[in-house]
């Protein structure tokens, strides 16, 4: 009988250690610090996002998870080739696009080939499986704006969201080259 009660009290003790730790006060502090750290990182440093829509295929598959690095443009300006998050009216929804034109440059599409200031732009991130046939006459990008477009240029040109984004709308650079946890739509 004594052994039984001893055993159950030991079990209770280990259950307590497992759930709230040896020192509940420290466990509480640790939880608070962890929650605060995760909140601060996701709010001010790395913003988790889920990719929706086909415009960045095949680079970023639909339904994958990625992160926006908010600090990437604190000390430097966005560069050509960067994949960035562009905000709408706030930060619950973003556009995910690639920068191909910088402020003041003249951009043109000729049968799918991009020309910057009259010179063809090399785009190694585009695959031959996704051919482009767009033709857009040359236009100068406004100062302070960046020309952004998705990697999936097989889409009809008028359905593909692209254009000039103001600098203040660019929230940050996409952290990972490929999305994580890509699931099929039925698994959502």
């Amino acid at each position: 009988m004594a052994t039984d009660s001893n055993g159950s009290s030991k079990l209770l003790y280990w259950l307590r250690v497992f759930s709230i730790g040896r020192n509940p006060k420290f466990t509480l502090i640790r939880i608070a610090v962890l929650v605060a750290t995760v909140y601060l990182i996701s709010k001010f440093v790395l913003l988790p996002i889920r990719v929706q829509g086909p415009s960045m295929m095949p680079t970023y598959a639909e339904n994958g998870v990625n992160f926006v690095n908010r600090l990437s443009y604190r000390k430097s300006e966005p560069k050509r080739g960067d994949v960035v998050a562009i905000r709408y009216s706030g930060e619950h929804r973003f556009l995910m696009k690639r920068i191909i034109g910088l402020p003041g440059e003249t951009i043109e599409f000729r049968y799918g080939q991009v020309f910057i200031d009259g010179s063809p732009l090399s785009e190694p991130y585009l695959t031959t499986n996704y051919p482009c046939r767009w033709t857009i006459p040359p236009r100068q990008i406004k100062p302070g704006n960046y020309y952004v477009v998705g990697d999936n240029r097989t889409m009809p040109e008028d359905l593909h969201v692209k254009g000039e984004a103001t600098r203040e709308r660019i929230v940050g650079k996409i952290l990972l080259c490929k999305s994580l946890f890509v699931s099929s739509p039925s698994q959502r």
């Binding site: 929706q52 829509g53 562009i86 709408y88 009216s89 706030g90 930060e91 619950h92 929804r93 556009l95 696009k97 951009i107 857009i136 006459p137 236009r139 406004k142 704006n145 952004v148 040109e157 008028d158 359905l159 969201v161 692209k162 254009g163 000039e164 984004a165 103001t166 709308r169 739509p185």
Partner: protein, 181 residues
């Protein structure tokens, strides 16, 4: 111990006071936000809604707008822009949507409200997300709502689409060409 209990009670009382003040005397920004969220809910409908409920909702939508409201939708992918003038046209558009799709869920996200110093006019910039029942993807569009305080009630006088990415003039021409076909 006594001191800390008093401190906690005082903090709780202050929090309750702030909550009560905000609830019973909301700022115009809060009133407008809540009204817009209410509009999104009213425009939404599901396949399970009965015909009477749908008609009631379409009728209720009119309460959110002024008589001379002007709504202009110029959405990429849809080759022509669409303008609705007046409450009646909006009600008809809602009824039409109810007949054409099984269900529609409209959400207004990230609502930023700016009230004029006179307190009678306001502009709300928001992101609208629309999901049609049975479709996997949703539509997102940034919108600007212009509101006016009429007889103590905030009503929408104008809705315009915002081009989050400004198009090059050539692209607008392409869309205009397609629209004229």
């Amino acid at each position: 111990m006594q001191k800390s209990i008093r401190f906690i009670a005082l903090a709780a009382l202050i929090a309750l006071g702030i909550w009560g003040w905000r609830t019973f005397f909301p700022s115009p920004e809060r009133v407008i936000k809540s009204r817009l969220l209410n509009l999104a809910e009213t425009v939404s409908f599901s396949a399970n809604d009965g015909n009477i409920a749908k008609i009631y909702k379409a009728d209720k939508v009119g309460d959110f707008f002024s008589m001379d409201v002007e709504v202009t939708f110029d959405v990429r992918g849809y080759t022509m822009s669409r303008t609705f003038n007046g409450k009646t046209e909006i009600k008809q558009a809602v009824l039409g949507a109810q007949q054409n799709v099984q269900g529609l869920k409209v959400e207004f996200l990230d609502i930023n409200v700016t009230v004029d110093p006179d307190g009678e006019n306001a502009v709300a910039n928001l992101t609208a997300q629309a999901t049609v029942s049975g479709q996997r993807d949703f539509q997102i569009q940034e919108l600007n709502f212009t509101l006016k305080k009429i007889e103590g009630k905030w009503v929408i006088t104008k809705i315009e689409t915002v081009k989050t990415l400004s198009m090059l003039p050539s692209e607008s021409k392409v869309e205009m060409k397609l629209a004229s076909r």
